[in-house]
Each structure stands twice: as structure tokens, then as C-alpha cells.
């Protein structure tokens, strides 16, 4: 069985290792001064669901991961899409090994396999009238985590 902390640490490390250089990654619990930042990505794993299955090994669960991309409006009008594309490729269709880093040999104890990611632009229409307009794109990917025997 893969514990929740191994699972979340694996996901966070994976996203942190692939996020473009110089873009702040906000993990749950981290406070970012958004006033001083032109763009950033927020990570959350908001759902880990059970699947009806045997009690025997090779446990499987479904999970949902969201990356929220925020970019201040600028002359580069497609910057939010460019950053969202980088974020999308971090998850979409990817296979990620779950490694138990508490053990000295760091064994691979399972894998997360993501389906194709969904992208939604949640930029609010009146954002252009705000003092510092913000573009907001959400990438969501559902996947299956499988524990190895």
C-alpha cells in the first residue's frame, strides 16, 4: 500500500523538478507574496479516491491533481497559455514512479499513471479592468496510482 505522504511527496517532487526555471511553485501551506510576482503555479492534489477491489496486494486508487497557472497581464498575451502548456505536459499521459525515500535503497513501490489532462481558462472577464489584471488557467489531470506487490 502506498501511504498518502509518499504519494504527495512523489507528486510534488515530480512537479517541482519539471516546472520551468524561475517560475515559483506554490505547494499547499506555502505563502507566496503575489504582489511581487508576475507569474506562478499552484499545485494541489484534491482527491484520492478508492476503487472497489480485492483486499489482496496491488492496491489501486484514483487521484486528481490540479495545477493552477497565474500570469499578470502583459504585452505577451499568450504567456499564460505557454506556461499552461509547460504545466500540462508535466501531468498529461505521464507515468511517475512512486519511490519510498525513507528506505536506504529507495525502492519503487508503485506508479501513478495519468490520463490526458484537461485545460480550462478561468480568467474572469472583468480582469482587464482590475489594477493588476491576472490571467488564470487551470490544468486538471486524473490518474490511477497502483501499488506494486
Amino acid at each position: 500500500m502506498i501511504s498518502l505522504d509518499h504519494l504527495i511527496v512523489t507528486l510534488q517532487r515530480h512537479v517541482a523538478s519539471e516546472i520551468p526555471e524561475g517560475v515559483p511553485l506554490v505547494l499547499p501551506g506555502i505563502v507566496l507574496d503575489a504582489e511581487a510576482t508576475a507569474e506562478w503555479v499552484e499545485f494541489s492534489c484534491e482527491e484520492i479516491s478508492g476503487i472497489a477491489q480485492r483486499d489482496s496486494p496491488a492496491e489501486r486508487r484514483e487521484l486528481s491533481v490540479t495545477l493552477q497557472v497565474f500570469v499578470r497581464a502583459s504585452t505577451h498575451t499568450a504567456r499564460v497559455q505557454a506556461l499552461a502548456e509547460s504545466a500540462r505536459t508535466i501531468l498529461s499521459g505521464r507515468l511517475i514512479d512512486v519511490i519510498d525515500r525513507t528506505q536506504s535503497d529507495e525502492p519503487v513501490i508503485g506508479a501513478i499513471r495519468f490520463r490526458e489532462a484537461d485545460v480550462r481558462d478561468l480568467t474572469r472577464i472583468h480582469a482587464a479592468q482590475q489594477r493588476r489584471p491576472l490571467r488564470h488557467v487551470v490544468i486538471t489531470a486524473r490518474g490511477t496510482v497502483q501499488a506494486f506487490v
Partner: protein, 168 residues
Amino acid sequence: MAVSQLTRNLRDGELLIKDGSGTPKSLTVLLDEGDLSWTERQKTIEVKDRGSISAGHLRKGDDESVQLSFTARWTQLIGKSANSADPLQLYETLTLASGSGVTSTSSAGQQETLTFEFTVVDPSGTASEKIVFSKVYRETLTMSEGDDANLIAFTGRSFATRPVVSRV
């Protein structure tokens, strides 16, 4: 007295396939969908007296073998038959593939068969049971693709009128 009031469900089951080797090779079916199903039939000959049931009687008909089926998620189809150091996989076990070392539980010249042992654990720990299907021969093996998982679906028969159920 060991009686359990708890209903069993798919979480309590485990399917083990054994072959006919001197020291039987066994394969626990991991990633199965928990949909094992079997049907025991009984044939009866109705003898009516000039169309009348009240004057008629019943005779036992031919024995019927047990029909069974299950579905499992598909990882790799072959293991030991490709590399002797690899563990047995479900497909090569069910097909008694060459190189897998899986042998039939029936004599030479007969249809190839295996033994299925289905264990249902009592959640309260009182009355777990093992259900053994002997001489299981394969009728169909269907491999199909899917969004969530590719699946292997087995249907076959156990050449017995019923499985042997015992307490474990």
C-alpha cells in the same frame, strides 16, 4: 460452532490457479476485477404420464459441469515463457504456454486442465472458506483494450458437478 453473519463481497476473495506439476506451480490472480462467477446446473428428466404431472415422476439427467468466468486487468501476457527468471503471468498460465513450465492436471492425451482455488476470507475471521474447482478447461479467453485498463476475460468449465467447499 463457527458461523458468520457477515455477507462476503469481492474484497474478501482471492483466486489461485494451480497446475498439475509434482510440486504444483501456482499463480495468484492479482488485479482481477472481483467478478468471479460460477454456475452449477442440474439436469432433470421429467416423465409425465400421458401429459399428467401428478401421475408422472422425475429422473436424474446427465451430470452438468460447472461453468465459470472471471476478468482480470492485463499487465504483460508472458513472463516465464519469455525468460525463465521472470514470474508466471496470467495469460501464459491459462494457455499453458510453451516455456512456462505449466502442466495440465489431466492425463496426457486429454484436454488440458488446471485447478482453480477460490478463497473467501470471513471478515470476522470465523468461517473462511476455500472453493476448489478441479479440471478447469478453458472455453474462451478474450483480451480487450480499455481506457482504464486492458482486460483478460476467461470463461471455462470445471469438469465436476460442483466445486469442493471446505473451511479454512
